[in-house]
Amino acid sequence: MAELFIQQRFYIGAVLLFTIGLATLFLHPNLIKKIIGLNLMDTSVFLFLAAMGYIEGGRAPIVTLGSETPAYINPVPGGLVLTGIVVAVSTTALFLALTCRLYRKYHSLNLDIILMRAKEEKEDHGQ
């Protein structure tokens, strides 16, 4: 059992990180912490992908003349992780931009308070 855990440590880590990220994203009212949760979630998927492409004792897949290596690691997951990072950076940037805008308008980072103030504003407007 313990051996299995050690063998699968990357995947177990990825699942743990994903759960922590997901819980933070949905349960925490603070917007900045939500963003951190989102990033944790993305990172866990990257860990999962990178661990999948890794081969024990393998080298980066660059062919050099005259050297013989036993194994190369799989480059495709690496490419996927790079693309994923670009996507994660852009969603984070958008999320941060929206947070700035909300903070300037409602002077709070707590989503519950923001929702309350937005509702009050709507009622005032309706009168």
Binding site: V45, V76, G84, T91, A118
Partner: protein, 495 residues
């Protein structure tokens, strides 16, 4: 034939090019006109592609950069993809034309170029999801669609829309995270990302009975992720605010097209990658069926309680999406075909309702509530007609698109096993619910005519042309059921 094969890539390239160019057009409305021109061109090209592929009964794969299969990236087009591309482009064009005046009112003039950039990127992402044959490309475009759709919600720059966008973004990120995890697991098991290769290996694994747990997990994660993004019932919390607080064109496109893009991808996954028998063996079809059935009823009940016209229409979108899931859950070819038809029917009906509602809100002094809209249709009869016909179509009035899709769904349900009675009950109950909120709404907008109420315009406006086109398309979808189902069946064979 050879030139035809370039159309999918050429359309995407053209749209992306116009997206990059639009912020630099300083002329008044220049960016809007460019976007509309490109949308028209792509509609015509896709229509041409559709007729050619339908007549020859073929499909083809297009290798990006001529790299062969295991390394390269592929697009695949058959009659069904061409049909979706042509209809999505037409709806895009009509929603853009129909909402031009609201864009000019809601969005600052110096930002219009940026708004067109976003909409064109969103459009490119939708077409890419329709055409791509590669799972990872699909993921990238899912994310592009999510980001651009969020910004399209914020484009109106009110506090409410920013809050709605944040909520939308959180759900979108969760959805795409789940999809990415599913794709990773599939790649881990099979070592492929192209859909056909994946399909072959999965068929081998399923017949051997190995790796069933990871395959089930991947199928579940991807279905869950895509249903969160398409606002299927228990995951629809983000939808009403996001769709109601955007500007008219954005609401129409988000409701009519963006939700469908993910479902087209889901259909491709079901047909091309997993295969019906594998999904039935893990009870995925029953899950989709139950999600659809509950969604049809609950979302309609939620729509009943809305005071705000745009929120009601948004909830009704969630109910209509549930029809598609119900049809997919039947697990038969007829069910999938009914789902495709419902995608088209809703894509042409909902934007028409949004364009009509936008014009009515304008005519009713800018209020979103029923009390503001009483009698608004007399001031703008064309918008009133659009709202009325759209509402009746969703209630299932014969000769309109909604009726044909319900008919297709009922026919598919009759051939199913235990699903027949629940499905027929669901269709009947949700049609009645649709009628209970659309008919009072229609009566309200055509309500008592106030004294000295004047028609707003005496000249033909461009949104009125869009509404006429929507009406014509709706009637065509309602009456041309036979040929359309023929194309869809042929397309599903070749998918």
């Amino acid at each position: 034939m050879n030139f035809i094969q370039n159309i999918p890539f050429f359309s995407l390239f053209l749209i992306l090019l116009s997206a990059i160019a639009s912020p630099f057009l300083s002329q008044k409305n220049g960016a809007l006109r460019l976007a509309q021109g490109v949308q028209l061109a792509v509609t015509l090209l896709s229509g041409w592609l559709l007729t050619e592929l339908w007549q020859t009964g073929t499909s083809f794969t297009y290798q990006m950069g001529h790299f062969p299969a295991p390394w390269g990236n592929e697009l695949k087009a058959g009659p069904l993809e061409a049909l979706f591309a042509a209809s999505f482009s037409l709806v895009m064009l009509l929603s853009f034309t129909g909402g031009t005046r609201d864009i000019q009112r809601d969005i600052r003039p110096e930002r219009q170029g940026m708004f067109c950039l976003l909409m064109q990127l969103l459009y490119a992402a939708l077409l890419a999801m329709v055409y791509t044959n590669d799972l990872f490309t699909a993921y990238v475009f899912i994310e592009i669609a999510a980001i651009t759709a969020c910004v399209a919600v914020v484009a109106k720059e009110s506090g409410k829309s920013v809050v709605a966008a944040i909520r939308y973004l959180v759900f979108s990120c969760l959805g795409s995270g789940l999809v990415l995890l599913g794709i990773s697991i599939l790649y881990c098991v099979t070592g492929h990302l192209l859909m056909e290769d994946l399909g072959e290996i999965i068929a081998q694994l399923v017949s051997g009975g190995t790796y069933m747990v990871p395959l089930t997990a991947a199928a579940l994660l991807m279905t869950l992720g895509l249903s969160i993004k398409s606002a299927q019932f228990p995951f629809h919390a983000w939808l009403p605010d996001a769709h109601a607080s955007a500007t008219t064109s954005a609401s129409a496109i988000l409701s009519g097209l963006v939700l469908k893009g993910y479902i087209v991808l889901l259909i491709k996954l079901i047909v091309r990658v997993f295969g019906d028998s594998m999904l039935i063996s893990i009870y995925m079809d029953d899950l989709l069926f139950l999600l659809g059935l509950t969604g049809m009823l609950f979302a309609s009940v939620a729509a009943l309680r809305q005071e705000d016209v745009k929120r009601m229409v948004a909830y009704s979108s969630s109910a209509q999406i549930s029809y598609i899931f119900l049809a997919l859950g039947l697990g038969s070819r007829a069910g999938t075909a009914a789902a495709c038809f419902q995608i088209l029917a809703h894509a042409f009906t909902k934007p028409m309702i949004f364009v009509g509602a936008g014009a009515l809100i304008r005519a009713g002094r800018g209020g979103h509530y029923w009390s503001d809209l009483r009698g608004a249709a007399w001031r703008d009869p064309m918008a009133g007609l659009a709202f009325t016909v759209g509402g009746l179509s969703l209630c299932g009035l014969p000769l309109l698109a909604g009726f044909s899709s319900k008919y297709g769904l009922a026919v598919a349900a009759l051939a199913a096993e235990w699903q027949t009675m629940p499905a027929l009950f669901g269709i009947a109950a949700s049609s009645v619910l649709n009628a209970t909120y659309y008919i009072p709404a229609i009566l309200a907008i055509w309500g008592k005519r106030a004294e000295r109420e004047q028609l707003l315009h005496h000249t033909v406006q461009d949104y009125q042309i869009a509404i006429v086109c929507f009406l014509v398309c709706n009637v065509i979808l309602g009456m041309g059921v036979g040929p359309l189902f023929e194309v869809i069946y042929q397309g599903l064979e070749l998918l």
